[in-house]
């Protein structure tokens, strides 16, 4: 399948009065059509900043894209003009967020909000747009679209609101859907419904999905490939099997081991000591050095280069994870 997004050496820093915060510091990956890429990381790992800055949704300043490129459909999203970005956002690249309540306008009816992308990006008339939107609502499992179109967001539960957000994202047939923690605010039974829905829609439309989450279980269930980020750095990437069974990075390894499992009665849960570093006070070395059990002298002095076996890429000074 064709490649739809090609990100090289992406660096996004915040320039603040207290210093430079390296929120995203060197990200490389490719995304193919029909593929689901999971981006895993804890809070402050830079996963959300990356996606928001990619779509030009963060104010510059304080943010500055220091280097890198993001090739999408023959152009570079990093250097694209604001007009170009506006024609891409919510059109060829759509996004859904964690909090479906805050991403819908509480003053406007669902219908008014849903037809907006079609009227802006596809020059549809109101009537045409409403017709298309009804189809989208049915597709996301909202059985009574006419009632839904006339409802306000507060009349819907969290799961239904997320369905509305997905319907809105789908109206323009995006090539990439970015889902930033789409199920974190939902209950597990509803999460299962939404993830199933995303999978079936993806199968039908062949769009690529970037799924950002801190839940390793969700990634294991829906992603094809996976990036692991920590403190703005890319630590490891590969197929989900590479990451979950053949991880070469001490952080990924420790993260997996410290996750409680539903299917196993664990006698002990090995935890990662310490806390994530302050992003404005990072040295030249690996940001995980203070918490890593295999730390060596060179880890403090330089960030490692990639070790690659086919698709699997890991950034660690260790020759091999013991």
């Amino acid at each position: 399948m064709g490649e739809v997004l090609h990100v090289r050496d992406y660096r996004a820093y915040f320039h603040t009065r207290r210093g430079i915060v390296k929120a995203v510091d060197g990200l490389n990956f490719n995304l193919s059509a029909g593929e689901t890429l999971g981006i895993v990381g804890e809070s402050g790992s830079g996963k959300s900043v990356f996606l928001l800055s990619l779509l030009g949704l963060l104010p510059k300043p304080p943010l500055r894209i220091e280097s890198g490129s993001a090739q999408f459909g023959g152009m570079d999203l990093v250097t694209a003009s604001e007009d170009t970005m506006r024609s891409i956002r919510g059109n060829k690249i759509a996004m859904i967020f964690q909090e479906p309540m805050t991403s819908l306008n509480p003053y406007l009816k669902i219908g008014t909000q849903l037809i907006e992308p079609l009227m802006i990006h596809r020059n549809k008339t109101k009537d045409e747009a409403f017709k298309i939107v009804k189809g989208s609502l049915l597709k996301v499992g909202i059985g009574d679209p006419d009632r839904a179109l006339n409802a306000y967001p507060h009349e819907f539960s969290g799961g239904m609101r997320q369905r509305v957000m997905i319907a809105m994202a789908l109206t323009t047939h995006p090539e990439i859907l970015i889902a930033d923690e789409p199920t974190t605010a939902l209950d597990v039974t509803v999460q299962a419904q939404i993830l199933e829905l995303l999978k079936s829609i993806q199968k039908e439309t062949g769009m690529a999905v970037i799924l950002v989450t801190h839940d390793l279980g969700v990634v294991a269930g829906v992603a094809d490939r996976c990036l692991v980020m920590y403190a703005g750095k890319l630590f490891e990437q590969g197929s989900v099997d590479d990451i979950f069974y053949r991880s070469q990075h001490p952080y990924t390894h420790a993260l997996l081991k410290s996750t409680p499992r539903l299917d196993k009665a664990l006698a002990a849960l090995p935890s990662i000591a310490g806390t994530a570093p302050d992003l404005s006070k990072l040295g030249p070395g690996c940001p995980f050095d203070a918490r890593c059990e295999y730390v060596k002298e060179e880890c403090r002095n330089s960030f490692p280069t990639a070790k690659r076996t086919e698709e699997h890429e890991s950034f660690c000074h260790l020759e091999k994870l013991p």
Binding site: V188, V219, A220, P260, R291
Partner: protein, 331 residues
């Protein structure tokens, strides 16, 4: 463990909130907790799981009397906790303490850690300042915060460290019962494991009875000995944690367990999910009969009319609120 006398006994607890939908409309009753009974023994952790709106937090808050139960009894170490008033209630409070979900909201930003930890001591015990300091030093090192940090303010700590401080505050009075309401939900995975291990260790050392409220079934499996599953204000299944995870009986427990993603791609690919339709109904007008019948894939006519009881399954200690278990196919 079961030979021990329970330190906390809750019987038929109900928490009904009054809700006024409008000036001229009749007052509605939200049945947040609708007849819950449970027992906790020293050194035992009971996990209380359920989805949002199932009443698990209301139950926890009612047990510690942050909200007043509508009906039922709570017995702590032989005293009827709900009948206590004034001084007697204050003297009983040290035996039951609570840890909340959000360590950013539950610590006063204007108090130093020393002040945060001294407050329960000042409120409940008359101690010399040396004794007070000794206790604060002791608990703070037990939760893994450096002793030199006591004069710092909450904002100087990370989320995980704040939760350690909140745990220290709850345990400084040496309670018999600890209620922990989603204590690790706002923490990152790497920090979550630290806090879970800390709670497990402290519980063992202090022989605490702990009610661990959470929506995360994987976390609960790790920490709890016994488990209670709530749905719309009622316990639908309860028993030994190990048994329920191995062999969930109630259709809701099964769906809940099958919906939790497991960080193992091969396993995830081969799993069959029970995907429930719809969402949890409103506790204002809970469905008739079995409250789960609207989402239950096995519901029959009887489920719509007759509310089932929480009964022992085949004489085992596992309790389940579903008379149709025998009819439901095993996985």
């Amino acid at each position: 463990m079961s030979e021990l006398q329970p330190v906390l006994t809750v019987k038929d607890l109900k928490v009904h909130f009054k809700k006024s939908p409008g000036y001229f409309k009749p007052v509605e009753r939200v049945k947040a907790v609708d007849g819950v009974s449970l027992e906790l023994r020293p050194g035992e952790t009971m996990g209380l799981v359920g989805e949002s709106g199932c009443g698990k937090s209301s139950l926890g808050r009612a047990i510690i009397r942050l909200i007043h139960p509508t009906e039922g009894t709570i017995d702590i170490g032989g005293t009827n906790f709900l009948a206590l008033k004034g001084g007697a209630l204050r003297r009983a409070r040290p035996s039951i303490q609570m840890v909340f979900q959000d360590p950013y909201a539950s610590l006063d930003p204007r108090m130093t850690i020393q002040e945060v930890l001294a407050e329960p001591l000042n409120a409940h015990l008359r101690l010399s300042s040396e004794e007070k300091n000794r206790r604060i030093q002791k608990i703070i090192s037990a939760v893994g915060i450096p002793k030199t940090a006591v004069h710092k303010y909450p904002h100087e700590f990370s989320g995980g460290q704040r939760q350690r401080i909140a745990i220290a505050r709850a345990l400084i009075l040496e309670p018999k019962v600890l209620i922990a309401d989603e204590p690790v939900s706002s923490l990152d995975v790497s920090v979550q494991a630290q806090i879970l291990n800390l709670m497990k260790d402290l519980q063992r050392e202090m022989n605490l009875a702990m009610l661990f409220i959470s929506h995360n079934l994987a976390v609960v499996r790790y920490i709890s000995h016994r488990l209670a599953v709530m749905y719309l204000g009622k316990i639908v299944e309860a028993g030994e944690s190990r048994e329920i995870y191995k062999n969930p009986l109630h259709p809701y427990t099964r769906a809940l367990i099958s919906a939790v993603p497991i960080p193992d791609p091969k396993l995830e690919r081969s799993r069959t999910r029970i995907v429930l339709t719809g969402e949890i109904p409103s506790p204002v007008n809970p469905p008739s009969g079995c409250t789960f019948h609207t989402r239950c894939p096995y519901a029959v006519e009887k489920c719509r009319t007759t509310p089932p009881e929480l009964l022992s399954f085949n004489g085992s200690p596992q309790l389940v609120r579903c008379p149709e278990i025998g009819r439901i196919p095993r996985q």
